[in-house]
């Protein structure tokens, strides 16, 4: 087993060792020490609007079910495991139940996770305590809701969600403010893609503003413009007309906060829009906020927000991206459009349409990055060099009240992620009670 010193030695302030992406033992430790402790995004409460509604997913590779309690309407996150012999109880991606029932011996569970009934119960001894939570579908130790975004932690200790997220809470507020009714809805389906690479490659990529002109070269025309983005008249300018990256990528800036979180500044198109659909949306938004405030609200000061380690929210084509590590060299990512309640239907349809272009498994954008992640996984097998460089603008980051800020194309965000990585990984911690018992 890797010692704390060995783990610490794999992360330097401006570089990380290639073992972080290659070593299955490190991956197992990440699941235990990072995903086992952090607040992980599970889903949005609008995915389970009615009592008895559920969705299934996994956290740190463990199957879980997010369900709205039939009794009190609370949203629970339960381990998706029968309290009897351990089979996954709920085998559908989503649905509605009165009780969860195990396929094997028919044990059934309330939507709170409590054991409801055991067939032929008399066969168990008198000391069989049906109220023992271990015989139910065990709830995760901690679950919290912010603005409808449901997070859970596999650990019973650690900071509360608001403390853990800190300045990131603002980004959720910003998204909610974009909805004329003040609420968002995650009901537009999901893009699911996998790549043969390490999960951290995807997390690094989200606020990597150095890559777009190169990785996404195939989406630009000769004038350096990308195809038209949602709600804007022109495509994003990735390069100047000679094909050189333009300066806004640096100027937009990047912010890094505790626990590996951060966001990058807005893209030039953000907050702008035109056409009758946008006008109708703007009118609805002004109805909520008034014209002045609506303008401010639309001018979201960030583009991609990383909630380390498993969530990204994007403001421009509003979506949620969830990172699901499968193994050291395989990762699944799920992308959900964030629909704005109170916006014209056509406006939300534009979000969906645009997300097909950017993040579908057949998208024009994300697929080139996925190929880069695959090549990283392959290239880092080589022994010629040991380190992965994250040194861009190293030493130029500026402290702020909340963390640090840097140039847009700085690799500050990755350095910040690996600072959190090292903090988590070098703190061996006894497994929490819920795991040990």
């Amino acid at each position: 087993m890797l010692s704390t010193t060995e783990l610490q030695g794999l992360v330097k302030p401006d570089r990380v060792h290639r073992r972080l992406y290659q070593d299955p033992e490190i991956f197992e430790l990440e699941m235990e020490r990072i995903f086992g402790r952090a607040w992980l995004y599970v889903g949005h409460e609008s995915q389970v609007p009615e009592k008895g509604d559920f969705i299934t997913t996994d956290l740190a590779r463990q199957p879980v079910v997010m369900v709205r309690d039939r009794a009190d309407g609370e949203v629970h996150v339960l381990y998706n495991r029968c309290g009897h012999r351990g089979a996954v109880v709920c085998n559908q991606p989503c649905g509605n139940v009165r009780l969860f029932r195990c396929c094997y011996h028919g044990w059934s569970f309330k939507t709170s996770g409590k054991l409801a009934a055991v067939p032929l119960e008399a066969g168990y001894g008198e000391d069989f305590d049906k109220t023992d939570p271990q015989f139910g579908m065990v709830p995760l130790p901690r679950v919290a809701n912010y603005g409808g975004f449901i997070f859970a932690s596999l650990s019973d200790s650690g900071p509360d969600l608001k403390t853990y997220l800190g300045p990131m809470l603002r980004t959720i507020d910003d998204i909610l403010n974009l909805a004329p009714d003040g609420e968002v809805q995650v009901s537009g389906g999901v893009h699911r893609y996998v790549f043969d690479g390490n999960w951290k490659a995807q997390v690094e990529n989200i606020n990597d503003l150095y890559h777009p002109p190169f990785s996404h070269a195939s989406t630009t025309k000769e004038d350096g413009r990308q195809f038209q983005r949602q709600g804007s008249n022109t495509g994003a300018q990735l390069t100047d007309e000679d094909g050189n990256p333009i300066s806004f990528w640096d100027e937009t800036g990047i912010r890094a906060f505790d626990n590996g979180h951060g966001y990058c500044g807005k893209l030039p198109d953000s907050g702008s829009g035109s056409g009758p659909v946008f006008e109708a949306y703007l009118k609805a938004l002004e109805g909520r906020h008034g014209p002045e405030r609506a303008k401010e609200v639309l001018d979201v000061p960030w583009h991609n927000a990383i909630f380390y380690p498993n969530l990204c929210i994007q403001s421009m084509a509003q979506h949620i991206r969830v990172i699901r590590p499968i193994s050291v060299d395989r990762t699944e990512v799920n992308v959900y459009p964030i629909l704005l309640k109170g916006a014209p239907q056509e406006y939300n349809q534009q979000i969906i349409r645009y997300l097909n272009i950017t993040h579908a498994p057949a998208s024009l954008i994300q697929t080139d990055d996925l190929e880069a992640f695959r090549r990283i996984q392959s290239g880092l097998k080589t022994q010629g060099a040991e380190w992965v460089m994250l040194a861009r603008y190293f030493g130029k980051d500026v402290p702020t009240d909340e963390g640090q800020k840097g140039m847009g194309t700085s690799e500050l965000e990755m350095r910040n992620q690996y600072k959190a990585w090292a903090d988590y990984m070098t703190q061996p911690q006894p497994r929490s009670n819920s795991h040990a018992s």
Binding site: P93, G188, G189, V190, H191, R192, Y193, V194, F195, D196, S215, A217, S218, T219, F227, E332, N334, V335, P337, Q345, N348, Q349, I352, R353, L355, N356, I357, A360, P361, A362, L364, T367, D368, L370, E371, A372, R374
Partner: protein, 173 residues
């Protein structure tokens, strides 16, 4: 020449030129196999759509995400990217071969905006980044038969695993 002999919902239509339509969809499929994308697009009408839903029995491409939902303009953008020298995901080029089978043809309802419906089982074998993938599903074509020429008004591909997680999909099905 033979008529379609079975339909699920529509009355059996006699006298459809099965062989002509079979030839058309085989050709369409081969253009993709051979990466003759510009010719492939030419088979689609200007108001056409190419749709690969992301859910079984997906009702709407507008309110739910899709794997592909392209109008002609987006198809052209997609093809332009496939021709771009720096499309990393398609380097080296993806190879694919499609088998179409179980072709069924019926005429469209009056006023449908197209003339014929053709369904075929698709088995696509794709060699992508040194690995081979198999995709299966059913293609549904809405075809126009005007001025003695067939054209595509809508092609929908219902993959049996449409709601699963995918490796990058580069070439349309």
């Amino acid at each position: 020449m033979q008529a379609s002999t079975y339909t699920a919902n529509q009355p059996v239509v006699e006298n459809l030129d099965h062989e002509r339509i079979q030839k058309f969809v085989y050709h369409e499929s081969r253009l993709l196999d051979e990466r003759r994308f510009e010719e492939w697009i030419e088979l689609f009408d200007d108001d056409a759509t190419y749709w690969v839903p992301a859910q079984i029995d997906q009702q709407s491409p507008l309110n739910q995400l899709s794997i592909f939902y392209d109008d002609k303009e987006l198809m052209q953008t997609r093809i332009a990217r496939l021709r771009h020298e720096r499309i990393h995901v398609d380097d080296p080029q993806t190879r694919s071969v499609r088998m179409l089978s179980n072709l069924e043809i019926e005429s469209a309802e009056p006023g449908a905006g197209y003339d014929l419906r053709a369904r075929a089982v698709l088995c696509a074998i794709v060699f992508f980044q040194q690995k081979q993938y198999i995709y299966g599903g059913r293609c549904e074509y809405q075809l126009r038969d005007r001025n003695n020429a067939l054209s595509i008004y809508c092609k929908r591909v219902n993959l049996i695993n449409c709601d699963s997680a995918f490796h990058p999909l580069v070439v349309p099905f």
